[in-house]
Amino acid sequence: MTEKTPMLVQPARIRRYVGQAVLRAEDECLLRGTGGFLVDIPAPDAAEICVVRSREPHAIVRKICTDRALANPGVIAILTANDLDLVDEVLPCVDMIPGTLDVRHRVIARDRVRYVGQPVALVVAANRYLAEDAAALVEIEYESLPPVTDHMAAMNPGAPLLYPELGTNIVYQVTQVDGNPAFAAREGDLVIRKRFEFHRQTAVPLETRGVTAKLIDNGERLHVESCTQLPQMLRTVLARTLGMGLDRIRVTAPRLGGGFGCKEMVYPEEILVPAVARKLQRPVRWLEDRGEHFASATHAREETVDTEAVVAGDGTFGGLRLSGWANIGAAFGFVGNTPITAMGAMVRGPYRIPNLDARMFSVVTNKTPLNVLRGAGGPQAALVMERLLDEAARKLGIDRAEIRRRNLLHPNELPLDRGRTGFANAYHIIYDEADYPRCLEAGLGLADYANCERDRKEAAARGKLRGMGISMYVEITAVGPYETARITLQPDGTILLFSSIMPVGQGSETTQRQLVAEELGIAMEQVAIRQGDTDEVPDAVGTFASRGASVGGAVGRMAARELVSNILNCFAAELACDAAALRWEGGGVIGPEPTEEFIPLAEIPARLALLRGEQEPQKIEARYRLEVPKPSYAYATHIAVVEIDPETGRLEIPRYTVAHDCGKVVNPLLVEGQIVGGVVQGIGAVLRERLVYGSQGDLQTGAMMDYVLPAASDVPADFRLWHMETPTSFNPFGMRGVGEGGSIGAHAAVANAVADALRDYDVAVDGSGPFTPAWIMEAVNRPLRAGLGQDRAPHP
C-alpha cells in the first residue's frame, strides 16, 4: 500500500483541506463507545415490540389467535393488519418502469405470506424478554402453498405463482441495446456462450435495524427514529401510509453502524412501529435481533445470466448478448430491480464492444426481498465481462493483459454515449473523462504482472497452485437527481452545516467539513455538521450509490459558496456599497476601499449586529439545491493473486493491487479505507458468504455462525494501492464516487485468479461461487484438462 502520513489539523495554519489525509474527529466518540447509535439512545418510557414473522415461505393466513399471548405477563397489546389504521400499505419501489407488474412490498401480511420472515403481527410488551415470550404464543393458522425458491424454476409453466392475479412470476423487464443488436458472428470469429450464476448474499452491517416512535408536541406530531440511509424518503412514505401531513412527522436517523445498501430501503417495521405508537398513544421501540435481520433485511446479488460473446481472431469483442434473471424474492425492494438493470447497462465496463443486446428480468420467488448491496449489479457485470475476456484470451492464445488492451476505450473516444437505460436515476449512460489504458498499465506494473508465470512455477515448487486475476470496471456513481443542503453562520461565528448525507462509517462528517472549510478558507474546527433530521433538511435524496462525498459534499460546498454571497450582501447593505466592492478572502470579508478592513468569519455576526444597531448577533443562512443531471463514472483495475493449497483447499491472497480513479480525492485516508474495506467484502462474497435456502423455502443461514463473513485472517498480505485523479467535468468539484468500487472489482479479480490457479483442472468458474475450501477440494479432485498440466502442483 502507498505510504500514508496522517496529519492532525493545526487550526490556524492549514487552510487547504481537499486532498489531505485529515483524521476523523468523529472517531473520538466512536472509540470511547459513545457514538450514539439508535440502540444507545435512551428510551426509558418505550414499550418494546417483537415482530411475529411468518415461518412459512408461502401460505394463506387463515386465522391469527392471540388469546394465550395476550394473557402473558407484561403484554400491552398485540396488533395485526386491521389494528393499525393504515390508509395505504404499499412500500415504495423507485425502479419500476413502464410495463412493470406491481409487486411492491406491503407493510404487513394480510391473507397471504410469501417469505419466511414476513411480518404478520406485533407484540407490544414491557420489555423485549416478555415480548418474545408472548410472541411465541401467538398462534397463526396457515394453509400451506407450494413454494418456489429457484428463479429459473419460477419461470416454468405450472410453477407456483406468488401473485396468481398476475399470471406470471416475471414482473420486470428492461432492455439495453447499443450499436447493432442484431450483430452476428463472421467467419473466423470465436463465439463464447456461458451461463453465469450469482449466489444470494446479504450486507450484514454490524448494527442491525431498529425503530423508535413517539408522539411529540402535545401529541400533534410523530417522531420516528430509524436506522435508515433515507430519512427524507421514510418521512414521505410515513405520511402516505399513516395518512398524516408531512409537517406532522419528524424522522431522525442516528449514526449508522454500517449500511452497505441494506438500509437503503423503506421497511415494513419503519411504518409498523410508528403506527403502533400512534395507535397506543405511547412511545414504542423495536430493535431487530440478528436472526430477524437475516430473514427480513434485504438480500442481494442472486441472478443468472446467459451470455453470448462474438470475438474476432485478434481478441476484439464485436458484440455481447445477455439474458439475465434476478431472483428478487417475494416483492420489490426500494431499488430491487436496479442490480439486474445495472448488470445489463454496465456489463461492457471500460471496453469498447460496439454492439450490445441485453434483456434483463426480475423474477419473484418465496425468498426475502432483494435490494442493492455495495456495487448494486456492478460486481456481477464485471465478473461476467472479465471471465469472458479471460476465456477468449485462453481460447485465442492471447495474453490476458493484451486482450484487455485491445478492447479498452481510449481517452480520445470519451465522453461516450453508451445509450439509454432503465437504471434508476441514470437514464442515459454517458461515460465522462477517463484514461482506462493508463489505469490498466498502472495496475499491471504495481502487481508485477510480468512475472506472474515465474511466481506460479515458484509456488508450484512449494506445492501451491498460484493464480493471478485481472478485473476492470466502470461504475455509475454520484447519481442524482438532485441533493440539498443548508448552512448557517451561527450567531457565535461558527459554521453549522445541515447535511442530508448519513454517517454510515464512510467518514461523511469529516469529508463534508473538509469541503466547507476549504471553500470558506477557515479551520475545520469552525465547522460543525448535523445529519439525518427531516426537521432540519426536509427535502433530500439520501445516502447511496457512492454519492455521499461526490454529491452530498458538493452540495454542501455550494451552499457554503452561497453563504459567502449572502454575507457579502449583508455587509453591502449596511455599508451602503456594492457587494462587488467586497470580497471573501482568507476566511473573512475584505471591506471596501480604501481601508479594505479584514473581518474574519468568527467576528462577522457581531460586526453586522453593531452595524445594524442590534443587541444580539443574528445567524445568516444559505440553502442550495444541486441538480445532478448526469452521474459521474469511477473506474479501477484490480489484480488479485491467490495461492491454493490443494491438500486442504485453503486459499490465501498474498497480493492484491488496486489502481483506481475516483476523480478529485477529498481525503486519501478515507478513500483508501473505502477501497480496502470494499475489497475485503468482495473477497468475502466470492470465498465465504452464502445465504442458503432449503428446497421448501426455509432460510437455513439465520445467524452469523452460519453465514461466514470475512475475518481478520482474510486480509491480503500485501495490499498495493494507487490513486489516479482525473477530475470529471460532470461534477462541480471533479469528484466521482468511491464507496462501492472495492467490492465491484474484487469479485471479478478473485474469480479470475481462482480460475487461473485451477486452469489445469476441468473446472468452470462461471459465477460468484463461493469458492470455499469444499468447492476447491471438489475441483482439484477432478481429472485434469486434457493436454494440460505441465506446471501443475504436485497433487496427492
Binding site: L23, R32, A126, Y129, A203, V204, M704, A712
Partner: protein
C-alpha cells in the same frame, strides 16, 4: 452503583413473576449488588441496567466479538452469558479503560491508522487489545491472529486494525494504556 441491594423493579419487569437471584460483582472497580432476573443477559444488565452502553450486541451468539468485555482478566462475550453467571466476578468495560477525556494510547492508534469506520465493532476490539497488552503479547507472535480472529468488522477490511494493534503491542512496554483504573 454501589450501596444497598438494588432490585430491578423497573416498570419493565413489574408484571412478571420472574425468578431472581442476588449477585455481587465489581464493575469497572465499583461494587455492584443487584437482584436480577435469572435469564437476564449480561449484555442487557451492563447496557440497560448499569448504563454501560459502549459494548454493542451485534450477533447475540458470541460470533462477532462486538460485546467483548473483560471478566477476571479474560476477554468474554457478554451476549452469551447471563448476569447471574458473573457472581463474584470483576468486570471491566470500555468505560473502565477510557481516559478521563479524549483518547487513550490505543484509541489514538486506532484513530491515526483509520482503524474505525462505522465504529460499531470498535469497543469490542479495544477490550481484546487491552487483554493482549496485559499479557504482553508480542506484535509478531502468531497469537495476535488468534486473538483478532475473535472479532468481526464489516467496514475496514481489517488491514488498519492489524496495523493499530501491532503498534499498540509494540509500544505496550513503555506506554501502557492510559486512563486505567
Amino acid at each position: 452503583m454501589s450501596g444497598p441491594d438494588r432490585e430491578f423493579q423497573e416498570a419493565a419487569w413489574l408484571d412478571s413473576d420472574e425468578s431472581r437471584t442476588a449477585i455481587r460483582v465489581v464493575v469497572n472497580g465499583k461494587q455492584v449488588r443487584a437482584r436480577v432476573p435469572d435469564r437476564l443477559l449480561l449484555s442487557d444488565f451492563l447496557r440497560d441496567h448499569l448504563g454501560l452502553t459502549a459494548l454493542k450486541v451485534a450477533c447475540g451468539e458470541g460470533a462477532c466479538g462486538a460485546c467483548t468485555v473483560v471478566i477476571d482478566g479474560e476477554p468474554a462475550r457478554c451476549c452469551t452469558l447471563l448476569a447471574v453467571q458473573t457472581e463474584g466476578a470483576h468486570i471491566l468495560t470500555l468505560e473502565g479503560i477510557n481516559a478521563a477525556q479524549g483518547l487513550n494510547r490505543v484509541q489514538q492508534l486506532f484513530q491515526q491508522n483509520h482503524a474505525v469506520q462505522c465504529g460499531y465493532c470498535t469497543p469490542g476490539w479495544l477490550m481484546t487489545v487491552y487483554c493482549m497488552m496485559h499479557r504482553s503479547i508480542s506484535p509478531d507472535s502468531d497469537e495476535v491472529a488468534a486473538y483478532l480472529s475473535g472479532h468481526l468488522c464489516r467496514c475496514t477490511g481489517y488491514r488498519n486494525i492489524w496495523t493499530a494493534v501491532r503498534q499498540a503491542l509494540g509500544n505496550a512496554a513503555e506506554e501502557p494504556a492510559s486512563g486505567e483504573k
